[in-house]
């Protein structure tokens, strides 16, 4: 795996030469960035701001990191101060973790995360040296799918190699990828491999269809989440479709790699819009993926069908709560008594879904799910992987770790794979996805 991360050309395992996956194209690591400038003037967004600073009080990074001035400055103030030719975006924008909590609290609906995402793209394009180690590192981290795809070809080797001490030391020294964290294990069989082997959908239904956007993590690392989703939806009689797809783009937004994200978005929109045409709604098991499809895509890109996709995308649990009598179904279910320390990912909060899991599991006899507080887990995708952010990331997570420790539950629960990583890293707990608990209760 470390070989594949060599920024220099040719000598190592170049993903382009090893490429058999049509989604991984030769320009994946091409250091030429073309920033999509059309429609990116967000100054009018500053019209909504009345300076109340609510966003600043909610920013987990600003609370612990003095270098980060907070979303108000980073968003409406910086944009309002901009003339069209000004490109000197303050470098502190790279400290934003894209948790989007500012969006969630702003009483005036200022498009804060869109401003940050766009400014970050502009910063990366204008100010960042594309040959710098930081740039290459960020590019690699944000193109997690490419690495994961490679690793999944030889998962066992990758799992060992990636957490091999000297390799990690080297990664930290050369790339600034913190050696404190353990790389997630790659599954020996990806979700898509399982899906193919199983022969696809087992419930045919023209009336009730969902298209599953599994994202990278459920595919390469936690296929059990994807499997749980399939079984739960089939339990309710849905036909599950699994269209062609790339990365949702979330890690790319956070690193200002907007053209990488756009390329993946094109694939996703195409495949998912086709499924919508076949009568399906789109569901995701990762809250950052559903956030990207619903909000960030239409904010950042102008692609055919993008609004339609946004209008048909749901988080999996949300979908069931709206369309099925989930509480009724669970009343009859039997499960082993279990307690969970639940953390609501920021991106779930952003979709108004922060309390749904706790509320739902309260209605299952024998299950208790306790919300461990509304703080951010601190990892924010690739953010907490960067050596320079590691301490900040752990400081942000401190509140959550404490609450988890205080709670009697010994198992954690969350929808977001990187939050799960952080929860596990901070407490050593096993972490489940709500769909896995549902699967146990229903199937």
């Amino acid at each position: 795996m470390s070989d594949a991360y060599q920024p220099d050309d040719g000598t190592g395992t170049d993903p382009a030469t090893a490429n058999t996956d049509p989604d991984v194209s030769a320009d994946e690591y091409d250091p030429v960035e073309v920033f999509p400038t059309e429609g990116m003037d967000l100054r009018p967004g500053a019209d909504s701001c009345y300076k109340c600073s609510t966003c600043d009080t909610e920013c987990p990074v600003a609370e612990v990191n003095d270098e980060f001035p907070g979303p108000k400055f980073q968003g409406p103030e910086q944009w309002r101060l901009k003339r069209n030719e000004d490109t000197d975006i303050d470098d502190s924008v790279m400290k934003c973790s894209n948790c989007m909590r500012c969006d969630n609290v702003c009483p005036s609906s200022v498009p804060l995360s869109q401003m940050h995402n766009t400014a970050r793209g502009l910063y990366v394009e204008e100010r960042m040296d594309t040959l710098s180690v930081e740039y290459v590192r960020n590019r690699i981290l944000s193109n997690y799918r490419t690495s994961a795809w490679l690793a999944s070809k030889l998962p066992r080797t990758a799992n060992v190699a990636m957490n091999f001490g000297p390799a990690r030391w080297l990664m930290e020294r050369t790339f600034g990828i913190t050696a404190e964290r353990e790389f997630p294990a790659f599954a020996t069989q990806t979700f898509r491999e399982w899906w193919t082997e199983r022969g696809g959908a087992r419930v045919p239904n023209h009336e009730k269809r969902v298209a599953y956007f599994h994202g990278c993590y459920s595919n390469y690392n936690t296929p059990e989440v994807g499997k749980a989703l399939v079984r739960v939806f089939e339990h309710f009689g849905y036909q599950v479709l699994v269209p062609e797809q790339g990365c949702s783009g979330t890690p790319m937004f956070a690193n200002g790699m907007l053209s990488d994200a756009k390329r993946h978005a094109e694939t996703n929109v195409e495949g998912l819009v086709e499924a919508i045409g076949d009568g399906a709604d789109v569901i995701a098991s990762c809250t950052s993926c559903s956030m990207a499809l619903r909000q960030e895509y239409p904010e950042l890109f102008d692609l055919h069908g993008i609004e339609e996709l946004a209008a048909h995308t749901y988080e999996a649990l949300e979908y069931l709560r709206i369309h099925e009598d989930l509480e009724g179904a669970l009343r009859e279910s039997e499960v082993d008594p279990q307690s969970f320390a639940y953390h609501a990912p920021c991106h779930a909060r952003n979709q108004g879904l922060a309390t749904q899991a706790v509320e739902l599991f309260d209605s299952i006899d024998g299950v208790t799910a306790t919300d461990v507080g509304d703080s951010c887990s601190g990892i924010s995708g690739t953010y907490g992987w960067k050596a320079e952010n590691y301490d900040v990331s752990m400081a942000i997570g401190e509140e959550m770790f404490e609450h988890m420790a205080d709670d009697e539950a010994e198992v954690g629960m969350t929808e977001c794979p990187t939050c799960a990583m952080q929860m596990n890293h901070g407490t050593g707990y096993e972490i489940r996805h709500p769909l896995q608990v549902l699967e146990a209760a229903l199937c």
């Binding site: 009345y50 300076k51 109340c52 600073s53 609510t54 600043d56 009080t57 909610e58 600003a62 609370e63 612990v64 003095d66 270098e67 001035p69 907070g70 400055f73 969630n104 609290v105 702003c106 009483p107 005036s108 609906s109 619903r294 909000q295 609004e307 946004a310 209008a311 995308t313 949300e318 709560r321 709206i322 369309h323 099925e324 009598d325 909060r349 952003n350 979709q351 108004g352 879904l353 922060a354 309390t355 749904q356 509320e359």
Partner: protein, 423 residues
């Protein structure tokens, strides 16, 4: 499948949260929907009932003495004194010893960051030893990077207002390495954390602050600092400072972002949890279904609409600041239920010439009946099961009167109780 509850509260500020608690205590299954963070963190955290004499404009010593002079459409006149007392009782019960002032009907005069004194009915414990009616000699301490509070100037201002104590101010650097644009929340966090130094002989943030302040003490009996003395561990921070200084320590309320406002929000959220209120935030309520009754309210979840069903609905979306009342060049409206908002036709009649003249826009909002139900243009109830609480109600100028929290509490207690009674 509509999500269904007994009482649905729309809006999560002081009024909404209190109304939800009142309804839950009445036995209702309650859900609270809030779109964004409340405006509580913009506010000083003081709980005003009526601070200004409606006739003379002077600070009012007893808020209940001023009620009769208020105009007939004022929520206090509609709901009556008992509702105000009910609201205050509920608040006192929820906040316990975190707030003071319940021992008397009298208003307290609290020194603010503008150097002014502000009449208020309840005040956070952290401001308790700073009251202007106490004669203790006072040192005010400001920080170099906090442009919102100039301690020497505030001290001079208080003296010019005739306070019955000696007061002096001093400006100091805040301990630790911070950038010039450090936010108050970051400073509060640093005091909360109190990095357990001593690293290379340096004391922790609290001790270092106490050390700096003590150098400037000259026999003062109390020390006032801007309201940034910790967030979650505020009490501990103040106690330690107080012990080290050998004086009382109090906070001076500031503008946004307000730590006392944030702490109040946290306390109320905990109360909601305690009462079993289900809270959902992040999505706006955009409309409703129904005719004379509100059958369901419509929540917009990123590009799609989801119905929520309830027997009783409480509207607590705030006023112009909270966006429960909106305006355009052509008029003022309540956007969710389209309730009637009395208003002058010409927008040039919405304001007065002088900035502190009687401002019509400040009174924008819904007219209510004695059960807090909004009234239409003819004085009839808009919906039999809809009640309005807090700043979305009109007919009063909370800034001029210093009555914002009192109206919120009185309407919330009434509406919450009545909603539960109607089930």
């Amino acid at each position: 499948m509509a999500i269904s509850d007994d009482v649905l509260v729309v809006g999560g500020g002081l009024a909404g949260m209190t109304a939800a608690v009142a309804a839950a205590r009445g036995g209702a299954r309650v859900r609270l929907l809030s779109h964004k963070a409340s405006t509580l963190r913009n506010a000083s955290g003081l709980i005003d009932v009526l601070g200004t004499d409606p006739e003379s404009g002077a600070p009012l010593a007893d808020p209940f003495d001023g009620l009769d002079a208020l105009p007939g459409e004022h929520p206090y006149r509609i709901l009556g004194e008992a509702a105000i007392r009910e609201g205050l009782d509920l608040f006192d019960d929820l906040l316990g010893d975190r707030y003071l002032g319940s021992h008397t009907d009298r208003n307290a005069l609290v020194p603010t960051h503008g150097g002014t004194v502000k009449p208020t009915a309840r005040y956070p414990e952290s401001t308790g030893s700073g009251l202007a009616s106490s004669r203790e000699r006072t040192l005010l301490v400001g920080f170099e990077t906090i442009t919102d509070f100039d301690a020497p100037l505030a001290a001079a201002h208080l003296e010019n207002a005739g306070v019955p104590f000696e007061v002096r101010g001093v400006t100091l650097p805040f301990p630790g390495e911070f950038r010039a644009d450090v936010r108050v929340t970051r400073m509060a966090h640093a005091l909360d954390e109190d990095r357990e130094a001593p690293v290379d002989g340096r004391p922790g943030t609290r001790a270092a602050l106490a050390e700096r302040v003590s150098e400037h003490l000259d026999g003062e009996e109390r020390v006032g600092l801007p309201a940034l003395l910790g967030d979650e561990r505020g009490e501990e921070v103040r106690e330690q400072l107080s012990t080290r200084l050998g004086t009382d320590v109090f906070e001076v309320p500031m503008g946004p972002p307000s730590l006392p406002g944030l702490r109040l929000e946290d306390a109320l959220e905990a109360a909601l949890h305690e009462e079993g209120v289900r809270v959902e935030s992040g999505n706006p309520v955009v409309g409703y279904e129904g005719d004379d009754r509100v059958e369901t309210v419509t929540v917009e979840r990123v590009h799609r609409e989801v119905p929520y069903e309830a027997e009783q609905v409480i509207l607590a979306t705030g006023g112009l600041v909270g966006k429960g009342i909106r305006s355009s060049r052509s008029g003022v409206c309540e956007p969710i239920f389209g309730c009637h908002v009395p208003q002058p036709e010409d927008r040039y009649d919405w304001f007065s010439e002088g900035v502190f003249d009687d401002q019509p826009f400040a009174r924008f909002g819904l007219r209510i009946d004695e059960g807090c139900r909004p009234l239409d243009g003819r004085g009839e109830t808009e919906f039999e099961n809809l009640r309005a609480v807090g700043a979305v109600c009109g007919g009063y100028d909370s800034a001029r009167e210093k009555s914002a929290s009192g109206v919120s509490l009185a309407t919330a207690a009434t509406a919450g109780r009545r909603a539960a009674e109607c089930l």
